[in-house]
Subunit: 114 residues, 2 copies
DNA sequence: ATGATTGTTTGACGAGTATCCAACGATCCG
DNA sequence: CGGATCGTTGGATACTCGTCAAACAATCAT
């Protein structure tokens, strides 16, 4: 099932509907150093372009990062808006907070603590 | 580094010290259906024997479950006390709550919601 | 149009992992 | 002692996954 609420606004990459987000898939998606680093970027708020520089992920090939972003999107963690050549990624904070209350806040605190 | 606080009491299987518990390893350990099911058992409180019946994991070989329990222990999620032939597993709730405040609570709520 | 930019897709490869099975070690019980 | 119980370990196998490289598609700029 695909989320339909954003129809007619912009173009978005496919993502699971809110009610289809599964905890085990979210945890699996975040149980990787690269994707957890991406999460910490997204947690800072706003939209993030796929072009990443100086965030400690320069050693990775662009296709590798594209793969990781797809995993996060498929798990329901992020939403990706398509604007021309660019993709802007943001956290699905409202959806995640509604489905797993306190999870993102705990992860944010945990990431800061380390 | 190994946690030394429990010396002289009982025999425990090796586990990482509290300050060595890493968020990404915890998330990776829990990003698996079997281990997340185990977590939900441990979250109910008390110690749980390794003998599991009627909890929806009967289809797995005992060595497979032993492997999953080892992963949880190595990630710092659980502690295992050895008493004779038996092993009693419990959550390291205090350690995890101290290191990642709110994480276990959010996971518990998330598991109940599903 | 031509070329540069941005990101995805596909294939390949090595590393990791989930599972079962068999064997083992340790422990408890007659 | 001898057998049963509880759990771990090692090997084998199939599958998943992280990474890179090359090709591709779409868009923007000149």
């Amino acid at each position: 099932m695909t989320d339909e609420r954003m129809r007619g606004q912009d173009e978005w990459l496919p993502q699971p509907a809110t009610e289809d987000i599964e905890l085990v898939k979210v945890l699996h998606a975040l149980g990787d150093p690269v994707r957890l680093r991406l999460l910490s970027l997204y947690l800072e708020g706003g939209e993030v372009s796929c072009t990443l520089e100086g965030v400690g992920l320069d050693h990775l090939h662009k296709s590798t990062l594209s793969h990781h972003m797809k995993v996060l999107r498929a798990a329901g963690v992020t939403a990706t808006r398509v604007a021309g050549r660019n993709r802007f990624v943001r956290l699905r904070r409202q959806d995640l907070d509604g489905r797993f209350p306190g999870l993102l806040d705990a992860l944010l605190k945990g990431l800061e603590a380390q």
